[in-house]
């Protein structure tokens, strides 16, 4: 025995965890309450990241489906403030631009729309009329919810297809019903699904160009031209589109890319996401302070236990490890609960929105790393205090 090197035994990993959990098991209510702050912080951050990712994934999916290669050229006002009209041959001219694959047009009609002749003429229904080409639907990647779209035959007839909102405002539930355009009954043959790229069309009653000219006094001049080209050529087309549509007075033509509006919406959400992330970080910080506070109290209350462990042969390091482990477990508990909560909130909300649920692994991993870091930081000071207690003093404290 004499001279044999005295080397403290290393604690097994399972023992370290077991010792760290002793203090938690004895004070369950306090554990739950002090882990709550961390749980809320992590839940907020996981949910915020999850929701913004899910919504962005949904938007990307939609953009993918709708295509980002659609451009519109819209007649605006000339230098004198007068409404300008696009030439009748605006579409064929656009189609002649090299990369353009398809082009179509609509024309604003000056038509009053009512549900029936019982409704006074001066009570607008909030629905306008547009003349539409038969290839409008395919170009916009839109579709009908009910009934049919205009075709070669029906574009010549006094029939209309309603946007989703227009149908609702007019109280039309299905094809076959009639509405009044000016003083003439027109049969509804179809109702569109919401047109995501051009939401304005949701509030419109559409009628074929020939029919509009024949029955509603339309002059045949389009007001907006839509075109699609391969993604790589969009910028090239954009550069020449106004000039092509209105040679000589391209300044009065407004060219835009409808998918930009959708993307801009996502960017606007980004600001809110950062704010929420900040709030989550604050909650996490407060949670960390709560854990540190709990640990300091725990050390004060357990001086005798610390003294006893020292008497049983625990090194200062073992005492430090015990309290850091306890703090780690405490915050990991909060972190795990928070991650589960955040993931559940994301799933519930995203599913309610009809989005695909995307919870990035990095947000869970980041949350876990943050909790572990907080656990260590919050536990370090109390652990050092605990290990610095003199064994005899700790034992005598009553």
């Amino acid at each position: 025995m004499t001279g044999s090197a005295l080397q403290p035994a290393r604690l097994a990993g399972a023992d370290i965890l077991r010792i760290g959990a002793v203090g938690l098991r004895a004070r369950r209510a306090r554990v739950v309450l002090s882990a709550l702050g961390i749980a809320i912080g992590i839940a907020t951050m996981v949910a915020v990241v999850g929701l913004s990712t899910s919504s962005r994934a949904d938007l990307m999916g939609r953009l993918d489906r709708l295509g980002t290669n659609l451009l519109t050229a819209e007649a605006g006002k000339d230098a004198l403030g007068q409404d300008v009209k696009l030439p009748k041959n605006a579409e064929p001219m656009v189609e002649r631009i090299g990369p353009v694959q398809q082009a179509t047009a609509i024309g604003q009609l000056d038509t009053r729309i009512r549900r029936s002749d019982v409704v006074p003429e001066d009570q607008p229904a909030g629905v306008t009329a547009q003349a539409a080409r038969t290839d409008l639907l395919t170009t916009l990647n839109a579709s009908t919810a009910k009934g049919r779209w205009l075709d070669r035959a029906s574009e010549r007839l006094p029939v209309t297809v309603l946007g989703a909102v227009a149908a609702e405002r007019l109280g039309i539930t299905g094809p076959g019903e009639k509405i009044m355009m000016n003083n003439r009954y027109v049969v509804v043959i179809g109702i569109l699904r919401p047109v995501e790229l051009v939401p304005n069309l949701d509030r419109v009653a559409l009628i074929g160009f020939p029919a509009a000219e024949r029955y509603l006094g339309f002059d045949g001049h389009p007001t907006t031209v839509f075109e699609r080209s391969p993604d790589a050529s969009v910028e090239d087309v954009r550069a020449v589109l106004a000039r092509t549509v209105m040679p000589g007075s391209e300044g009065s033509v407004k060219v835009s890319r409808p998918s930009d509006a959708l993307a801009a919406k996502a960017a606007a959400d980004q600001g809110l996401t950062s704010l929420m992330l900040g709030l989550g970080a604050v909650a996490l910080l407060v949670g960390g302070v709560g854990v540190a506070n709990t640990m300091v109290i725990s050390v004060l209350e357990r001086r005798q236990e610390i003294g006893l462990r020292r008497a049983l042969g625990a090194t200062k390091g073992a005492i430090r490890l015990q309290f850091v482990t306890e703090s780690l477990l405490l915050s990991a508990l909060g972190g795990a609960a928070g991650a589960a909560l955040g993931a559940a909130a994301t799933s519930t909300f995203a599913m309610a929105q009809g989005w695909e649920v995307v919870i990035p692994l990095w947000s869970l991993g980041g949350g876990l790393a943050a909790t572990l870091l907080i656990g260590i930081l919050a536990g370090l000071y109390p652990a050092i205090r605990a290990s610095g207690l003199h064994p005899t003093v700790a034992l005598h404290a009553t």
Binding site: T2, P8, R10, A14, A26, G313
Partner: protein, 228 residues
């Protein structure tokens, strides 16, 4: 060879308190001794030095051949984990954990695996005649039973030295008697035991008898007949 050897040991606390003023003491393997003396005379201080929980202000303390003054804090911890068992007046059991787990903690810092710790804890509990209370938690045990659990925790590591600071101080006479019986039994199996007590009757029953007053050993008697 001696288990404990103190040479000219003093211990002073800040504020001019001289708890020990030059103590010489040797304890041989297999001894059972009582430390008696009035309150404040330095008994607990002496026991803490012997148990390496504290270091002397001057003088040397050797425990199981190691010079305490030359060891680092973690080496002292290892020394306690392997060679010394403690029994305290107030038991210091871990609440909410059963007798087996409390006793098994006596082996925790000696690097014994959990399974073996539990097996040996059961044996130690049987040795203190608590085989029927294995899964009782401290609040389900009487004071005497708690102290027997604490004794089992001290002896489970088969220490060279068992130190007890007023082990019967918080117990009624009957429970105290059982505790002392156990210590005598342990002594009979060869364990070196040092007991602080205020109880003259208990002290008189032990083979060696050290009286401390004002931080000094004033008498050290061995009684032949008390051993039997």
């Amino acid at each position: 060879m001696t288990v404990i050897e103190l040479r000219a040991v003093t211990k002073s606390y800040p504020g001019g308190v001289h708890a020990l003023r030059g103590v010489d003491l040797s304890i041989d393997p297999g001894e059972l001794l009582a430390v008696v003396g009035p309150s404040g005379s330095g008994k607990s201080t002496l026991l803490n030095l012997i148990g390496t929980l504290d270091r002397p202000t001057s003088g040397t303390v050797r425990v199981a051949g190691h010079d305490v003054g030359a060891l680092s804090d973690s080496q002292l911890s290892a020394l306690r984990a392997r060679h010394i068992g403690f029994v305290f007046q107030h038991f210091h059991l871990s609440p909410g954990r059963d007798a087996v787990d409390n006793v098994a903690d006596g082996l925790l810092y000696a690097g014994v695996p959990l399974k073996e710790r539990r097996v040996r804890a059961r044996l130690a509990l049987e040795q203190v005649r608590l085989g029927h209370r294995l899964s009782h938690r401290p609040h389900e045990l009487s004071g005497g039973e708690k102290q027997r659990v604490a004794i089992a925790r001290a002896l489970v590591g088969e220490p060279d030295l068992l130190l007890a600071d007023e082990p019967t101080g918080a117990l009624d006479t009957a429970s105290g008697r059982i505790v002392m019986e156990l210590l005598h039994e342990l002594h009979a199996t060869g364990t070196t035991i040092c007991v602080i007590t205020h109880d003259q009757e208990i002290a008189a029953a032990l083979p060696r008898h050290i009286r401390v007053r004002d931080g000094a050993v004033v008498s050290d008697r061995r009684s032949v007949e008390a051993a039997s």
